[in-house]
Amino acid sequence: MSRTNAAAAKASTSEGLKNHFELFGLTPAYALDLGHLERAYRDIQSEIHPDRFAHAGDAERRASMQMSTQVNEAYRTLRSPLQRAKYLLELNGVDVGFETNTAMPREFLMEQMQLRERLEEARDVATLGLLREKLSAEKKHIEVRIAELVDVRHDYDAASACVRKLMFLERFGEEIDAAYGVLET
């Protein structure tokens, strides 16, 4: 990216579309109307996507590509419960600190270990399906809790601990997917 592009990109963000929520006309909050998000995403892409500018001049083509990239990134972040939570905490000046802060409640860790043991022992798709159901119920539970901590109580430190749990669960989900891959081949 040349310097002029960077300047243009900066100008485009510095004019009021300050964060991912504003980009979609949303108020920053964890509980989100996903239907509204999806509609806004599609409507905005319909206006600014590079396909709309394929026949335009270089400047417009590049501006469209940058805006479209930004909109995709914002949508990806907000759509994911984990990424949205991380992003919201960052907006509120809280670093979730996955790298440095790995201290987790003992009880939670025990539970995680048990889940992983069950995953290792799983020999059929049905067992994996059960694990996935359990995982998704647990994720829902934590998401409700994060919504309350962030949106109602504004207790970002407590929310941060929940987000770390969610991160663990997300990774566990990836491990389940990998296990499906192994069983299926």
Binding site: S12, R42, Q45, E47, G57, D58, T69, Y75
Partner: protein, 622 residues
């Protein structure tokens, strides 16, 4: 040649003349070209009225190339020079080519991409593909009566960066202006969706001659959003032929075959496979060069048995695509079948069983990809879209990453990320006083770099000496709307920069392409000059028109000095437009372009705000 339309400054020109653009399906077995005429997508036939162009290129001793049916007719008597299924070699090294021993060619191992030795010299798969594309370009120009503004060329969704880049190079080599590389299943979904006014979540099951893709798309209010894609870039109808070929050799107890007989039996194998789609058994008889007669009969049961593992290979990608989309089979509204190989009853059965519903076969599986590509080309050329306003949102099929310590691949852009996209990651120096950092860009889902595809290597130099871990380098991956990657790296404290547009290492640089283009055009120098002049003029005029429209619609976003500075550049360009100097036009265009960068960015912002305002209004209504 179209004349320029003159419009008053500040006014939009009259409704633009239709800009002709085509969609090209560059297939393993057959290729097609289609365009949108009077609002309808149609396949352009050759002078004999044939839509398909067999993807076979035969090189002659005088260096010429014969393409299509003519080459097909000679594939048995001239197997080494008649290249079929070249798509399987695009962006592939010799090690990657499956069944090389059963292909009657003289392969040459070359860095990055395998090459083929022919009577006309050594040819790369890019050059062979360019021959096919050139025939289609000429076909379009002849049947449309003028030169085409550009083309959308389709690629299998599961093609990696090297294969995509090779395809784009081939198109450029064929003298095509590539508007976009488009994923084949996505093209099919466009054609299907617009034809049927489909809404909901659909799967596209695309088994071609050499590649298999399965994509899951959400169709809603004119937006085609690809949610996930998966596949096998080395699985296609060819593999079924291969199995039948091996069966014939075994059944008839044949000794190792000469290239000619190999190709003959391969053709017979393909015919038998196609015959079995509508019949219980197929008789295969042939007279070999050795004088031996082959006479065997293949029944459906045997055919299914010897190809069962191939059918099975389609299941895992389908399952992965569904899982990546976070969906269950019940949530899929329909399964659109694409590609000639989906005619096989066992494939229909397999797709039906997996998705638990009857597959949709109401489109010609050979043509649907080219038709969808034509619809997209029409939109990209700036014409009125067919079937109302619609937009396509596609994804990258394979994760992109960087090699880290211990030969592990660190994922930076995960698969199924919507494009265009950009993602950055920070890396730190690991030695005291380290002044350089080298990067290895890889693509694939495996953890070990050795199991991924290597895309490019580059180095960042000029890092100031610091203690280990203090130097921080930010690596940015940018994937454009064609799914092509560029990577840049920047050291944070000094701003030292290095970047690379990922170009596979098969040695076709832009300059090479330009040279080959020049060689391949039978034009005199003046023609090249005229062509360049014309192109620059058309581009410049387009930019002038677009900028004026922009100033008229959104001029309020500019200060009066900014406004007049842009106007000045427009006038300067306009004055130079009629000089016969392509370079001067290019320079003035570039100047206008630079002057409008900031304006363009502000306009995008304004567009987003307009959408949001509209949304608020409509939600008040609700």
């Amino acid at each position: 040649m179209a004349l320029f339309q003159i419009a008053e400054p500040g006014q939009s020109p009259e409704p633009q003349q239709q800009r002709l653009a085509v969609g090209i399906d560059l297939g393993t077995t057959n290729s097609l070209v289609a365009t949108v005429r009077s609002g309808r997508a149609t396949v352009l036939p050759d002078a004999q009225g044939r839509s398909l162009l067999p993807s076979i290129v035969r090189y002659l001793p005088d260096g010429r190339a014969e393409v299509g049916y003519g080459a097909q007719a000679h594939q048995v008597d001239d197997p080494k020079n008649s290249i079929a299924s070249v798509k399987r070699y695009m962006g592939r090294g010799l090690n990657d080519v499956v069944h090389a021993e059963n292909a009657p060619y003289d392969f040459v191992d070359a860095p990055g991409m395998v090459q083929l030795k022919t009577v006309a010299g050594v040819r790369s798969p890019v050059e062979v593909s360019a021959e096919i594309l050139k025939v289609l370009r000429i076909r379009s120009e002849l049947s449309l009566g003028e030169s085409i503004a550009g083309a959308v060329v389709t690629v299998p969704a599961y093609f990696d960066d090297a294969q995509r880049q090779a395809t784009k190079d081939a198109a450029q080599l064929a003298g095509l202006n590539v508007l976009r590389l488009l994923n084949e299943p996505t093209a099919a979904a466009i054609a299907y969706g617009l034809d049927n006014g489909a809404e909901g979540t659909y799967a596209v099951f695309d088994l071609g001659g050499g590649t298999f893709d399965v994509s899951i798309l959400k169709l809603s209010r004119g937006v085609f959003e690809v949610i996930s894609t998966n596949g096998d870039a080395a699985l296609g109808g060819d593999d079924w032929d291969q199995r039948v070929f091996c069966w014939i050799v075994e059944e008839a107890k044949l000794a190792p075959l000469a290239p000619r007989d190999m190709r003959l039996l391969m053709v017979k194998a393909r015919e038998a496979k196609e015959y079995l789609t509508g019949h219980a058994d197929a008789r295969i008889s042939a007279k070999l060069a050795t004088g031996e007669f082959v006479d065997v009969t293949l029944d459906t049961e045997t055919f299914c048995r010897i190809t069962q593992h191939l059918v099975q290979k389609t299941v895992a990608p389908a399952r992965k695509a569904l899982r990546d989309a976070g969906l269950t089979v019940e949530q899929i509204k329909g399964v659109v079948m694409v590609g000639g190989a989906t005619r096989m009853p066992q494939i229909q059965r397999a797709a039906g069983e997996f998705f638990r519903r009857d597959p949709l076969n109401n489109l010609d599986p050979d043509k649907v990809v080219a038709l969808g590509a034509a619809m997209q080309a029409n939109v990209l050329a700036g014409n009125q879209p067919t079937g109302g306003d619609w937009l396509l949102l596609d994804v990258i099929p394979l994760s992109l990453g960087i090699e880290t310590m211990g030969g592990l691949a660190e994922r930076i852009v995960p698969r199924n990320t919507t494009i265009p996209c950009a993602r950055a990651q920070e890396f730190t120096t690991f030695k005291d006083g380290q002044t350089g950092m080298s990067f290895h860009v890889v693509q694939g889902e495996r953890e070990l770099v050795a199991d991924c595809r290597s895309l490019a290597r580059f180095e960042l130099k000029g890092i100031p000496p610091m203690v280990a871990g203090a130097g921080r380098v930010r690596v940015t991956f940018q994937v454009d709307a064609d799914g092509l990657l560029s990577v840049s790296a920047q050291e944070k404290t000094t701003g030292a920069e290095a970047s690379v547009t990922v170009k596979p290492s098969y040695g076709l640089a832009d300059a090479d392409i330009e040279r080959m283009l020049r060689d391949s055009f039978e034009h005199a120098k003046e023609d090249m000059h005229a062509r360049a002049l014309n192109e620059h003029r058309v581009d410049a005029q387009r930019m002038i028109d677009a900028t004026r429209t922009g100033l008229r619609d959104d001029g309020t976003l500019l200060s009066s000095s900014e406004f007049s500075s842009i106007e000045e550049k427009i006038n300067a360009l306009e004055q130079i437009l009629n000089t016969p100097d392509p370079r001067a036009i290019k320079l003035a265009s570039d100047a206008l372009n630079r002057a409008t960068e900031e304006f363009a960015a502000r306009r995008m912002n304004a567009s987003v705000r307009r959408v949001l305002t509209g949304q608020k209004l409509s939600s008040l209504d609700a």
